[in-house]
Amino acid sequence: MKRQFSCAATAAPFLLGVMILVGVVGCGGSNSSAAKTTVVSNTATLTASSGPNGLAGGIVNGLYVTVTVCQHGTTTCITINNVQVDTGSVGLRLVQGTLGSVTLTPINVNNSPLEECRQYGDTSYSWGPLEFADVQIGGETASNIPVQLLGQVSAPAPSNCLTMPVNSNLPGTPPGNEDTVASLGSNGLLGIGGLIFDCGNDCTTVSFTSGYPYYICPNGTCQAVGVATADQAVNPVSQFTGSDNNGVMITLPSVPSSGAVSVSGTMNFGIATRSDNVLGNATIYALDPCQFFPTVTFSGISYTDTFCNGTGSGLGGFLDTGSNAFYISDANTLKSSGIAGISDCASSTSGSGFYCVTGGMTTLSPVNFVGFGGVGSANISLNINDATTLFSTNNAVFNDLGSDSVFPNGNSSTDFWDLGLPFFLGRTVFVGIAGTAMPAGVNAPNGFVAF
């Protein structure tokens, strides 16, 4: 645990501009034994809302933070709000125009700019170069880390990356390329999932082809390249100077069952590194090597991660601020589990794609979550409300919005329990990063969550 910075540490000029200075004592000459306390704020303000595009943009349950990006080693910086906080991805990705006149340091491989392509599950994709920047969130700084600039590209996204045709109903022009605020629904993505790198050793050489992320495009023709981990998209929290780099603590207020327009919360950096990020009486759940709870059980049915051991496509359960609802089980299975009023909303209604509930809100309890190796087990309770009713309000933040995990025709062997943003409302949730210094007594080699 380190709360004080020495004078040597504070001498870096780019850090001075961002630290919240508390009782700074001059560094010159004195042999005084007085404490020289320069304490960095480890807290950032969060906002849950419909984001920069408003309800008209079609997004509910978005979670946003403000990030400051600087040219490395300088005070040439820009502060960018409405960056989506995503515990289901890794890396900071910003829409290019949000940087204004601030230029960053290109990363070149074989004399060509390094580009990254990521196609998401809905067929949309991130495509653009990685460049080095200093990144500040709250009072914390990650110095000279790769940041992806969405939209600043020299060639079309490679076909090896886009393994699915891009759906024409996605927002954006052309649809699918998330290179504008309108198409992304935010000014950028802050991926702070439980890993350090977004690809890691699998991309230091081109070890796979389908969906491979890293390319150079000399003369407009892209080719896959292996990339050292130091040049890969990286979880900014894991790179914070100091010791608040082993995870985050997210605290959001509860909302009424009919929702709220927006709410404010906090994200504290570090877990058990200071007095304001202690685990307290939270239950720690170790995650499996694929970042899932291996088993979730509801009403006598177990939803198991069979993907990770190569025996199937079940995913167990996970927590994810980047999922805008509870994507859990499926309507037919829940019905046969005694949740009589639940169904998929009719496609003609505003709730289409989400659960509708006859007679209003229903409660699923107990839902049992078990951590990897049995580390952590608890019964929780989830509320699901009628989505058409929720969407008849002008609210954008709901703690009871749900949908099928596999839609339609899910079954319990492929269904999973994705506890999206609704789960974080009214809770304090910790997300620990695998491969960083675990808090004392935590046995979780693949990372953990706690709540």
Binding site: G88, S89, V90, Q119, Y120, G121, D122, S124, T163, M164, P165, N167, S168, N169, G185, L195, I196, F197, D198, C199, G200, N201, D202, F208, T209, S210, G211, T229, A230, Q239, T241, P289, C290, Q291, F292, F307, C308, N309, G310, T311, G312, S313, L315, F318, G322, S323, A325, Y327, S348, S352, G353, S405, F407, P408, N409, N411, S413, T414, D418, G435
Partner: protein, 172 residues
């Protein structure tokens, strides 16, 4: 600043043992099939059973067949951790496909002619979970896919090709 490599990014490690010799044999037998059978240009959903060979070559995968009473399952698994299962009716037509792996496999290959249904689905026929998943449901074609943190799973099937005594729940 430490940037430790993460040792836990190996997916579906159980699929990766002893691949090379199998792989060589698979290629040989695949080539033999190519000589003996006319493989259709399109592969995947809605295509004849023999088209699985084309998918196998495309994925550079091992190939295992399971026989059930009302259908057959061709399982393709490659060294990249991608697994594709193709479900074949007694008439010899691929009526459904499931997949899981670190990314979604090449849908231009696996959806056959149904890639047109994928591309022309209307807004009402499409449900998007922002960046995580997509479901397309039309009378002729049902598709769902979900990805998170380097893990993807999904399925596609043609309801009208489903054998009469088979339910979609068999596709896992």
């Amino acid at each position: 600043m430490s940037r430790k490599a993460n040792p836990d990014l190996t997916f579906a490690a159980g699929l990766q043992g002893g691949i090379l010799s199998h792989y060589a044999k698979t290629i040989l037998s695949a080539l033999l099939v190519l000589v003996l059978v006319s493989v259709p240009a399109w592969a995947g959903l809605g295509q004849p059973e023999a088209s699985v060979t084309s998918d196998q070559l495309h994925m550079k995968s091992e190939h295992r067949v399971q026989d059930f009473q009302a259908y057959k399952v061709h399982e393709l698994a490659n060294t990249e951790g991608a697994v594709v299962r193709e479900f074949v009716s007694p008439e010899g037509t691929v009526f459904g496909i499931t997949w899981h792996g670190r990314s979604t496999p090449d849908m231009n290959q696996l959806l056959g002619n149904y890639v047109n249904n994928f591309e022309t689905a209307t807004r009402d026929q499409t449900h998007i979970v922002p960046r995580r998943g997509i479901t397309i449901k039309t009378n002729d074609f049902v598709y769902t896919n979900f990805c998170r943190m380097g893990v993807c799973t999904g399925s596609a099937y043609a309801p009208k090709l489903l054998p009469s005594n088979v339910t979609v729940e068999v596709m896992r």
